[in-house]
Symmetry: D2
Subunit: 292 residues, 4 copies
């Protein structure tokens, strides 16, 4: 039984606007929404420097018949923002984003996302799970989700396995989640994929970049461990951070115990990042994110 949180909003649209800050953007956008018969239900804005910085805005508005009238509304938005030199995107909040999950052997993040999705807590569909191991196949399929096994090509050249994954993904998904997927994706793969990729790293970045962060955390003797969800770029563990969290540990926790306890933080952090991305709450700006 779900908690019945409405994650899809019929006849609602989300308008994201960002670019150089200029006076009058709020007025122009809100007047336009009134003009097209919309009612604003959520409005967030942020300027990183009121005197000539970058401007970010997210507006959710209710507009009966949005889906049918979308072309006209998009034209109106383009016309309104024409004078401002801003980037914008308009999404239909009644349409779920299509999320593919890539996973390896560790299943805690994978199963947590599938379970949240089934419960109705994520405004997404899950067209497929792709894994380089077969261990989770039965679990994934028990959620009614297709499972594809693409073994990793041995050796440093992953182009063969990456090509197979691209065949599955391209055109079928709106974003990809790496749920403890233990392979590094090439720049070529990311470019051909063409949609955002969200990763979960099992440390509080930028501490413990790279492999075996729990082992490194144990060696350094930290008193907290963490997890970081970020957009994947060609720089390993250096992409824009969406969400992070930490929990307290002690000298008595072994590396295995850190991994066991960290799993709880990982799945919470990842699920929040996925939810916010799916709700169009995250705007990328250079190596930063604005999360509304």
């Amino acid at each position: 039984m779900t908690a019945h949180v409405p994650t899809l909003l019929p006849a609602h649209a989300c308008l994201i606007v960002h670019g150089e800050d200029q006076p009058g953007i709020v007025a122009a956008v809100s007047a336009m929404i009134t003009r097209i018969g919309g009612n604003i239900v959520a409005f967030d804005q942020y300027s990183d420097n009121p005197e000539g910085g970058a401007y970010f805005q997210r507006v959710v508005f209710h507009r009966p018949g949005f889906a049918a009238d979308r072309p006209a509304i998009e034209a109106e938005v383009a016309h309104t923002l024409g004078g401002f030199d801003l980037q914008w995107s308009l999404t239909d909040q009644s349409v779920p984003k299509r999320m593919a999950i890539l996973s390896s052997k560790q299943d805690h993040c994978l199963l947590d996302l599938l379970w949240r999705h089934r419960r109705g807590d994520l405004p997404v569909t899950v067209p497929m799970v792709v894994s380089n191991h077969t261990t989770s196949a039965e679990d994934v399929r028990s959620f009614g989700v297709p499972f594809f096994h693409v073994p990793s090509t041995p050796g440093p050249d992953k182009s063969e396995s990456e090509a197979k994954i691209l065949e599955l993904l391209v055109g079928n998904v709106d974003f990809v989640v790496l749920a403890r997927y233990m392979q590094i994706l090439s720049a070529d793969f990311l470019e051909k994929l063409g949609v955002p990729v969200i990763n979960i790293h099992h440390s509080f970045l930028p501490a413990f970049i790279g492999a075996e962060p729990y082992k490194k955390a144990k060696e350094r003797g930290v008193k907290l461990i963490g997890a970081t969800s970020h957009y994947v770029t060609t720089d390993l563990d250096e992409g824009p951070i969406i969400e992070q969290d930490t929990i307290r540990v002690t000298h008595a926790d072994t590396t295995s115990e850190l991994a066991r306890r960290g799993a709880d933080v990982e799945r919470q952090v990842l699920s929040r990042a996925v939810l916010w991305h799916a709700q169009d709450r995250v705007i990328r700006h250079g190596n930063h994110t604005i999360v509304f």
Copy 2:
């Protein structure tokens, strides 16, 4: 040395609007701000029910010459919002609010607020501290703040001491903070005072209402203790909550230890509530607060 966070904003104003939700409020307000030559630097809004609920909006805008042109700008706001049946208030963000502190023997919240104020972290002035004990006099005056001692009238009738406190406060302060002030204020006092009063209660309300919450927490065997800052109403510990927080304790913590550790949470929670109130971030709505 301060951290140099600018808490007062020259030539900035804050417009708070709340009332029945209706289409077009954002458009009307933002167009008005453009019209008067203002530039929006922060915009928050919330509707507790998009289909006919209550609407809340906070806009901070930059407007050169705001202080001089304030009467004309207020007239423009009144004109703009005239058709909407909304309540509104307009404050000058370059003018600090005048905050009086009432205290008793416990000094941790009192000294923390004075220290944050001196450091430049609170956009307030502190015209006076009033205490029913003399123990903090020297500390308070070392911060350059006047200290007045008003002993509590013995017995249940506090009208005499309350009258003395009112003489000191009325007309001189914009809000009052009870920094672990151990006297209950009468409805008559609150009415005559006429400005908001913020209290810090040393529990996670509504758990452990009334006296000796740490003793009650020890008796119940809780694993977390907390603190709650709220606006004072005539119902003891029942006013609108502004901020709360908790920390972890164990079976080994005595009641005294809970009090010692809780003091850290109390001063953090109170200082956040005071900051947000002073920045006009808190809107009262029945027994709730909207905190932007």
Copy 3:
């Protein structure tokens, strides 16, 4: 793939001792363990008042051949502690406790426990899940765990359904977990069951006792919500607290959103309480717990 945390310890025993504090208990117990050829690997003690209070001690020791020699070792413990007027229990840390789960429609706590168990993170077996609804049957059985459906008898008298549940449980389980089981258990049931029962309540007790805590939390306007795991007694929501936690919410969270976000806290709090109980880390003392 599991994190490989060894939760069962071959040839290890746990000795819990509690009662009136007296000098020499540590010396007597540790000398005894040396005498029987054991090596202490974890030692915790607590006295709630060094001058004549209650004493609590948990010792885990390694002793090759413990299972075979247990009768002789128990006799040695009894002999050693004979002069102290203390209660004690000795458990084999290589033997998992048998945990039954009672559930209703909400499945987040249920599935989380089953998943943690499968992952190897809980030193228990799960002989059965009993539910008054059928919705989780397939999920439970996919974990290889028997599922029994016992509908709740309509009306206030639950003796018929309770009798059926007792038939299933008595003799087969070492403790019972109520994973959001929405029925109140009678004093008669608890007595006949004769093993500890652990509940998860979806509030920070003692705030919001009884039904619909998230609704009450929304009405009161709290800024944090919480969850509490406690041993069940005949006083509803009043039993000894094992673990609690809270998370931050805002004015914008609806009651449904509180329920969705609270589900994460509930499953974390319950899983910690279950782990600690299964590891013999929790000692009940009146309405309190000592958690080592």
Copy 4:
């Protein structure tokens, strides 16, 4: 008014033992304490590997007349532990440690420690504060604590100012706290000082080692900031960590705002580290700490 937490324990001693793990240590120590007429009030032990690792033990015991009989008791401890090849130290829990504080311009950690000390929450005396700036002189002296101004020698060679600080400290203090002291101490200084030095670093180490961690945190776009208290070694920001904590920040927090909010975490983390050190709860082991 203080919370009256008894931080000094008359007629109590603390015995710290560490070294190679061997069977029988607990039994030998506890029998010895019984033999000398002591009663154990707190007992903690930890072994980093039950099969031949390092062993750590902290025992607090009540022994009437401890101060007078200390030589005889020390001989008994030496005799008891003679066969074990362990290091040990015995401290009188009724004697406060002498803590010097080194500070620069930032006063939040300095004043917080002085205030906690005056409140009775730290089992220390504060014989002096040494600063390379004069800004805090009046504040420090208002707490009844001597203030010495030792300007930092310009240029990289700090031997002159370090020599002056050593003259003040050596022989007069049991440990030193760097309360946001913005000078790096030389290896020579640390060796001549000969007592533990505790630092507070304004990041979650090992993230953002070195100067300007809040600026680096802003640049990386983290969603949490933290603070770390550690023992000072000759490797900058690499010493054994005693305590850490984090708080949540957002994209909207400027570097100055991070510094303001971080100040709260810094003083909490430092005060906990100081308390635990003063209570002999922290054992150093290589680059790690065991905190009981």
